[in-house]
């Protein structure tokens, strides 16, 4: 079952940080990782990930650099120390949120 984009609101930053924390990735690979790790459930409009990547970088949570692969330039993102801290906080917030909803819905 795929999730609606509005259900991801507020969690996209944490999801992106989580996949980039595993290894440096370019934009397309971030989206592919999100799909793969969610078993295809995170099928958000692909373009919407890029503005979030740029903002996370502007906020100092990600950093990026050009690299060349098969003769093409691509921007590769990696998590910063601040990004790792934010990812930890994001995971904590999610556990509290999920626990609360679970307690009511279950």
């Amino acid at each position: 079952m795929s999730m609606r984009p509005e259900e991801l609101k507020g969690h996209l930053d944490g999801l992106i940080l989580a996949v980039v924390a595993l290894e440096p990735l370019h934009g397309y690979a971030v989206i592919e990782q999100l799909k793969a790790r969610s078993g295809g459930a995170l099928a958000l409009p692909e373009g919407t990930v890029y503005p979030a990547l740029h903002r996370l970088e502007a906020d100092g949570l990600l950093e990026s650099a050009w690299s060349t692969a098969s003769g093409r330039r691509r921007r590769v993102y990696r998590i910063t120390r601040r990004g790792e801290k934010e990812l930890g906080a994001s995971r904590k917030r999610w556990r509290v949120f999920a626990g609360t909803i679970e307690a009511v819905l279950a």
Partner: protein, 289 residues
């Protein structure tokens, strides 16, 4: 028109700078090369999302950086004033040792005294709003406008204020002394460089703003947690002016010149209220309603 051309024209229309546009287009081109059938979304929506997210980040960054530069300038200015006042006997009106004050310094000191207060208020309010909105993924267009204005006015008045130090050094070269004069020029120069370094971020935040609509907030929203209920921006301003009269009046009493204290208090309070009336709407202290 190809998808990338359309995206470029929409990004340009929202105010995304050329360098950032080139990078976005290169990333989208790479994405389409990997998957030519990718559903990237409508160019207009994407451009708006870029403007919303980058504009939000930029507006906050401009406010925090402007406050940082102003904080350095403020601390430097106060420290230098205390040093010249306590050890050398120089005051805003001249010196205790009956050294003649050059006429050209008076308008400069008056302007810098006013500019210092506007810089303090604008910079602090920029910080307050940026701090209040620090967790927002996207802020409204009106909040971004207010943040950019507060940062810009703070920086501009901060830069004007720093002219006070070289002015004193030039006006009283024999009284201030060699060491103080060197420090005055160094503090003024470092503060000016810091403010010049922040200026591009503030200018960029003025050009790239989020498009999201939202109710414009006023001073009471910025001071929210510290305000008693029923406070309006005008009441806040009146309370502040009353506090200024009391504090400067008491200062006059302590200095055995209560009339001078009260007179200065009333003058400063009038300047504060004038600032609120003239700049209140522009700096988002009060709204139209």
């Amino acid at each position: 028109m190809s998808y990338l051309n359309e995206l470029e024209s929409e990004l340009s229309a929202t105010g995304i700078p050329a360098r950032r546009r080139r990078r976005i287009l290169a990333e989208f081109a790479d994405h389409l090369h990997e998957n030519p059938n990718a559903e990237l979304g409508a160019p207009r929506e994407l451009a708006r999302q870029f403007a919303d997210e980058l504009g939000t980040s930029l507006a906050r960054k401009a406010a925090f950086r402007a406050f940082g530069a102003l904080a350095f300038a403020g601390v430097g200015l106060v420290a230098m004033f205390l040093a010249v006042g306590r050890w050398r006997g120089v005051t805003l009106y001249g010196t205790h040792r009956h050294v003649a004050t050059p006429t050209w310094t008076l308008p400069i000191m008056l302007i810098t005294a006013l500019a210092a207060q506007v810089a303090l208020v604008a910079g602090t309010l920029a910080l307050l709003r940026a701090w209040r909105l620090r967790h927002e993924r996207v802020i409204s267009h009106s909040d971004a406008v207010v943040l950019a204005r507060r940062s810009a006015v703070g920086l501009l008045c901060g830069a004007v204020t720093m002219a006070a130090l070289p002015a004193i050094a030039l006006a009283f070269p024999h009284t201030t002394g060699h060491t103080w004069t060197i420090f005055a020029w160094v503090v003024a120069a470092v503060a000016a460089i810091l403010m010049a370094c922040v200026a591009p971020t503030v200018l960029e935040s003025a050009r790239l703003r989020p498009a999201s609509s939202g109710e414009p907030a006023d001073l009471t929203a910025d001071l929210g947690p510290w305000l008693p209920s029923g406070m309006t921006p005008t009441r806040c301003a009146l309370l502040l002016t009353a506090a200024i009269v009391v504090v400067l009046g008491l200062q006059g009493v302590i200095a055995s010149d209560p009339y001078d204290g009260i007179a200065r208090g009333l003058l400063d309070a009038a300047a504060c209220m004038t600032g609120f009336i003239v700049l209140g709407r522009y700096l988002g202290l009060r709204t139209a309603s």
